[in-house]
Amino acid sequence: MVVAQNTRTNNPVGKSVARNDVLEKVTGGATYTDDIQFGPGLLHCRVKRSPHPHALIKKIDYSKALKLPGVKGVATGDDFPDLIGLYLKDRCFFARGKVRFVGEAVVGVVATTEEIAEAAVDLIDVEYELLTPVLDPEFGASPEAPLIHPDLGNYDHPNFIFPVANSNISNHFKIRKGDIEAAWTQCAAIVEHTFRIPHVQHVPIEPHVAVAKCEDNGQVTLWASTQSPFAQRALLAKALHIPESDFRVIAPLIGGGFGCKAGVTMEAIPVAMAMKYKGQPIKFRLTREEEFYTNFVRQGLVIKIKVGCDKEGNLLALQNRMYWDGGAYTEYGVNVTRAGGYSSTGPYDIPNVATDSICVYTNHPVGGAYRGFGMAELHTGVDQAMDMLAAKIGLDPVEFHKKNCVQGGDVLATGMVIHDVGIKECIEKVAQALDWEIKDKPSAPNKLRGKGVALAWKAPAMPPNAGSSALVKMNSDGTVTVSVGGQEIGQGTFTAMAQIAAEALGVPYENVKVSGPIDTRYSPYEWQTVASRLTWSMGNAVRNAALDARKKVLDVVAEAWGEDAKDLDIKDGYVISYKTEESVSIKDIVVYGLPKPNDGGWIGGPIVGAGSFMPSYVTGLDAETGQGNRAVVHYTTGAQGVEIEVDKETGRIEVLRAACAFDVGKAINPDMVRQQMEGGFIQGLSSALFEGCQLVDGVMRNPSFVDYRIATAADVPAEIDTFIIEHAQDDGPFGARGIGEHPLVPSIAAVAAALYDATGLRITNPPFSAEKVYLALLEAGLVE
């Protein structure tokens, strides 16, 4: 239930208050990057892209393009020789010497209109010498594969990424825990299987768009639909050799990102063009086709799992070898590989573990961050393997999961001791909601019916010292303005931050405004809007800032009233004294201060609270064993289940109902948590049933909504039960941890398990399209 507007909601944490970002979204008033008006001086950029997956650039001829009226100029790789990259610095603004994937930017054109720029692109001739492409990650990791980055050994990278020089391996993360060889001999059942998870696209409904302008004095402004304004400032300023303070990023509302607008993506191109053609803003927006084939993808994964348990079904050993199809460059891919590595057991307690998580350069699109950051791909393998093992040892999957799921105090594969987690309750809630014990009959003779459950965990994947900061400004009308650097991407973070500030300060939620758009010149620093980390990390910063402001208010009043601040409180926007029962509205204090007694002057003045947060306890992990004290800040865990029917005549899977349960520590806004669970589940379901980039010889064959289908309103089950479990996070604001990504993590595995329950078939390469399911039914003799 949503709390009605025009109310004063005090102590709003834990209440489903109305969101503060949505009114203008229903009236058409919300401003996204493409909506900003730049006037007639606006120039447009288009890009000549590589048609080849792997080739040397022999010659670029843009002379005809330059003669086209309206064309301002071009830029190529030679204009910007510096390497950029979030973790591993391995790419340039434009291809230099060599192209490594179909769609790579080779030449940028600036013109007075988009149409002229596009026409100019067609007039550019690029001569290539074709090289053998690497199109499979497992082959790519072998010594026989052609080298995609011969200079890999010289690339800059942080100390937690382990590239292998003279290979295509951009990161190799290992875990060695216990004695795996000895453990196999103790196992009563072992499952060994390979799973192949395809590349998928993020598909935000708002395509990427960015506008860049460089003033004659060298100051650069970038307006972009981005999850990472501060990271873009840092990376681009460095690559362009300008001070960070001369690089300003303005980030309006985002029309969906899901990770593809994190880090530096296509923004580098208009920025490069603006550096060359100063004085006018230059806009670059991706077409929907480019959005599909040129943009960061969720990288493909080949995952080889061997897992065993004793005769009671207790897990004993897991060997997990993952080959990530990282693509031509590695903005996030190397860290997805790391996250997949340290979380490679899934949320299971397993004493003996050997993991190799390997990121491989291929001549495919570049692997980026995608909601879940490797976890959906990992769980698609691990959780299906668990379902297989449960069947093999003769245990009900729910019993098997409950028996083996992690619990507070368990030592994880990395050596970290896990905090209190409510995953067992999550499993129970899901089983209950789906009437797990009851086997329903199919609704028609041509249907098969089944249920499946899968688990999920995920930790924020980020550098150990990713930080947040916030300002809380008190206004003379009694309202409060919260400034943050994290993005409102649709998840509702501005609402959650207002709730946290209101709770900590003692004012009604409705009196707190969160200032946007994010602007690196005025907004306090935030690492990035990724990793489901804002509620927790930025929430802590906001809480600290609000507490700082609160203390300042109380100190002023205490002095003016000659009282002890300990006897004062702020309630409903009023400072009250428990001792004297006096009260005063904060609006009378927070800007103009208070008079001292006996006309003795004034105290106080405009009040601004400041706060920040950075975890201090994450340690490094040993390069050979993956062991360390604390690999991550925390895990959010949960479970998901579905009941499905399979139509034997068409192979079509219909999801009849679904249940999701996650331990969020504390739900700051329960209704928004449920929104994340529902939306995330449907995105996951969409990838289970429909989605995959069809890459043939490096070319994406389905770069449109017609050929790359995502779930529509007609595809989704009407009944989705959601459950919030709350085992408080010790260092979360009011006990909260994140939930943005997790709901899509178990979806593919849950559908796969239900498919097995219904048909007895294991299909280990999603999506489970009607055609694929039908052929499998045919092959198994279940239909003729």
Partner: protein, 160 residues
């Protein structure tokens, strides 16, 4: 390039616009009239973000040639709320929590309004069908479907 002078009634106001022959209605709304509430998600008729009501029907404005709209009546998201009051579909989508990033929202609301105008008592199937051309990547759709169904109920209760 040939220009056409067209007269349209947009959100209740008469407007005269000069448009080149290849301009889409979406481009005219966003670039010529500054009505940026209508979104461009694909420019190829596949996502529904650009949905407006044209002579009573929900259409993908990216697939309509502006020059052919002479004499047409058009409602965009900016014209949905009348004299400061939110339309019932706007109210209900807010109450149901059917808005996240909001990029699909204008298009969905216009599809919903057109549906309720021609069918005041839609079934759940009718609603899902009416918005099946409007892609949303955030919400999972069910709250939107409930919102439209509640809007229909509220409107028919008000008529009674």
């Amino acid at each position: 390039m040939s220009f056409h002078r067209i007269t349209i009634r947009i959100n209740g106001n008469l407007e005269q616009v000069d448009v080149p022959g290849n301009l889409t209605l979406l481009q005219m709304l966003r670039d010529k009239l500054g009505l940026t509430g209508t979104k461009n998600g694909c420019a190829s008729g596949e996502c529904g973000a650009c949905t407006v009501i044209l002579n009573g029907d929900a259409v993908n404005s990216c697939m309509v040639v502006a020059a052919e709209c002479d004499g047409a009546e058009i409602t965009t998201i900016e014209g949905l709320a009348s004299s400061g009051d939110l339309d019932m579909v706007q109210k209900m989508i807010l109450e149901e929590g059917g808005v996240q990033c909001g990029f699909c929202t204008p298009g969905i609301l216009m599809s919903a309004r057109a549906l309720l105008n021609r069918n005041p008592h839609p079934t759940e199937f009718d609603i899902r069908d009416a918005i099946s051309g409007n892609l949303c990547r955030c919400t999972g759709y069910n709250r939107i479907v409930t919102a439209i169904s509640r809007a229909a109920e509220a409107e028919s209760a008000a008529v009674k």
